[in-house]
Symmetry: C2
Subunit: 375 residues, 2 copies
DNA sequence: CTGATTTAGTTCAGAAATTGTACTAAGTAG
DNA sequence: CTACTTAGTACAATTTCTGAACTAAATCAG
């Protein structure tokens, strides 16, 4: 139906935002004639639409943008219980959302998803045929084909062919992905990392995860394990970790580790924010904890910068604010540990992630597959 | 002259070795008819040749392989003084070699290269028009276009447009690259890493360098700095490093650091091998040194594995043997610091690199550019 | 206000790349 | 010796892309 060139155009606009035919011609390297026809075909299929015009000299040019209503994708996030199922448009906006109980029985869960699709899609008055695919995210390892869950401790899964099972129940092209990796995909398609060829995302939550974009593509790793920084050794001879080693980043800088340590030292805290407030009012325990965690995470990020030299590092978290001692120490640690020549050239950005964002991340995995021509 | 599809075929054969038309059809996704024509065109241009046939059932199939005499590339390695200039065939074999004094004056050096080309090419009885490009490697940072040397401490260069200067004198398409990165390219094209989509190369010499292939392409990094692991912090509060920080990998595991430390502790040693021998005969100083260096390098490699999950790690060095205490400790440290789930799945390989290999690396940068359609 | 100039985009015939179908080629299996 | 299998080629038909000539819609200069 669509040719490689069509997808190339869609990808370019997805990355760079609204673009004129003339600019597409020079950036993609096609003739004006070819572009004219291809653009019309994409408009006819409702995948592109003309938005505004821009004027310099000569005839004004028309901007082409993705038509948000031309394609929809379903995102299922199993990061939380209840799981979030969202219907997401072509530009990454949620148009409908349903929460359902998470089941660890794959068949049962697939059936539950299938059952709520009519309500999800119909409730938003979206035509069935516009829904092109589904992405499902979970905490765990996913194989190269994005079809099987190799291992998820939380769900108790090992080698579960989840994509196939869900496809059987929903008949939608389905892709599985690790949650941090999916978040990176949505940041690449819709968020802070639009138009970046390479960047690294850090997820700082109960655990710590990371994901890398390289050459405009998600780098999953030979065994799907790229970004497993939680178990980088940061404190040689440090605390024992649940993974079996000692001194892992996870034992120092994950939210679980920070809050556990706080409680163990008699500090009442439910969130990072609580500890930040305690530190601000002079609690030496809180200050010490934040110093230790921030410098550990900063050190780990500095390793990423020196190994991969990304265009940007995006730190995602669930705190309302992220401008306290932790973040300050972290940034100082990055500065201190990165080769002076490379120091300061890698922007560090922060972004709060809400429940719904995970579902957008899941959907974006399908969007990304679509843009790379899965159909 | 050649289309994208031609290059696709050349790349596939370059990566996978001799291949039949039938296999190319299924792997690249073209029709038999198209492949038949394209293969003939490439044979006519002397870029491919038919080698042996293989027989199963039905008509025997003919293997197509790169024709080593169809394309030549020149590699200039500025890693050593004298610099090595090599004429390398399409399959990575050196067919002629000249050493010339290295000059830090770019124009002078370019002229010196140009002067010896007739002898280099003529001496091997290669037709001028078969020489398709030149690669130049140096120790330092190189920009995204592989045209300018941003910074080389050894050569005392900053923002030198070396590719343009050399092109002016030689009229050959010219590409600059960092030495460790170039070595990775040649390992990808001709060596241990053929057919790997992603791998990491470590260069262990006077200094330490690294380079990564991801998605079948060299990952240079946003500022050309990917692989700068020499200045990863390995020993917090360790020795001061020439880069201005402390505890860098470079201060512990580079050959300079190891040999300096050995001398400082009264151990007579010119090479790693000397220290290995001392350790084997019981010198506690030597044993301690090798332990410290090996575990530091192992830790750094474990970070690479956990961050990037490559298909392989290739450790390159200039020692005759590399199976002593250093290597053993290093491998133990990798085992100990990699997440158990990922441990043991990443093969670690070793390869001795000689002077001439650097020149092949340099040439391979041009070969790689050619295979990706620079012409 | 008018015509020259500039840039965007379209049309359409022709060129280039690719495919489908029917063919030949060269072996193995029985 | 015949049937079967797989590799590879020939050629017309199709798809995709380009070049050149066109139309469209603005600015600029007087």
């Amino acid at each position: 139906m669509l040719t490689l060139t069509h997808y190339q155009i869609l990808r370019f606009i997805s990355a760079s935002g609204p673009t004129t035919r003339a600019e597409l011609v020079s950036r993609i390297g096609l003739s004006k004639a070819a572009m004219s026809g291809l653009a019309r075909e994409l408009i006819d299929k409702n995948l592109l639409r003309e938005t505004s015009t821009i004027q310099k000299q000569g005839r004004p040019s028309t901007l082409l943008d993705l038509d948000p209503q031309g394609a929809y994708f379903i995102g299922v996030s199993m990061a939380s219980d209840p799981a979030v199922i969202a219907l997401v448009d072509f530009k990454g906006e949620i148009v409908n959302r349903i929460d359902i109980a998470r089941s660890t029985d794959p068949d049962e869960f697939a059936q539950a998803i299938a059952n709520c699709l009519p309500k999800l899609i119909g409730g938003a008055a979206v035509a069935q045929k516009r829904v092109l695919g589904m992405g499902v995210t979970l905490s765990g390892l996913v194989d190269q084909e994005q079809a099987n869950c190799i291992k998820s401790t939380i769900l108790g899964w090992q080698d579960v062919p989840l994509a196939k099972i869900i496809h059987k129940h929903t008949h939608l092209p389905t892709f599985i992905e690790n949650d941090a990796k999916a978040l990176a995909v949505s940041e690449r398609l819709f968020g802070e990392a639009r138009d970046m060829h390479s960047f690294s995302l850090i997820w700082l939550g109960k655990g710590i995860g990371a994901a890398h974009f390289v050459h405009d593509r998600l780098h999953r790793g030979a065994h799907g394990g790229a970004g497993e920084i939680a178990h980088c050794t940061i404190e040689p001879n440090g605390l024992p970790c649940r993974c079996g080693k000692t001194g892992c980043l996870d034992t120092v800088a994950s939210m679980i580790a920070i809050l556990d340590a706080a409680r163990a030292q008699g500090l009442k805290a439910e969130t990072l924010d609580d500890i930040e407030r305690a530190a601000a009012s002079g609690s030496s325990v809180a200050i010490r904890l934040l110093h230790r965690a921030g410098s550990a995470l900063g050190l780990a990020i500095s390793q990423i910068i020196q190994i991969n030299d990304p265009q940007m590092v995006l730190v995602t978290h669930r705190e309302e604010r992220f401008d306290g001692l932790f973040s300050t120490v972290m940034q100082q640690a990055i500065e201190a540990n990165v080769l002076p020549r490379l120091s300061g050239v890698t922007p560090i950005q922060f972004r709060k992630v809400a429940d719904a964002d995970w579902a957008v991340g899941a959907a974006s995995v399908a969007t990304h597959s679509f843009l790379h021509g899965f159909i």
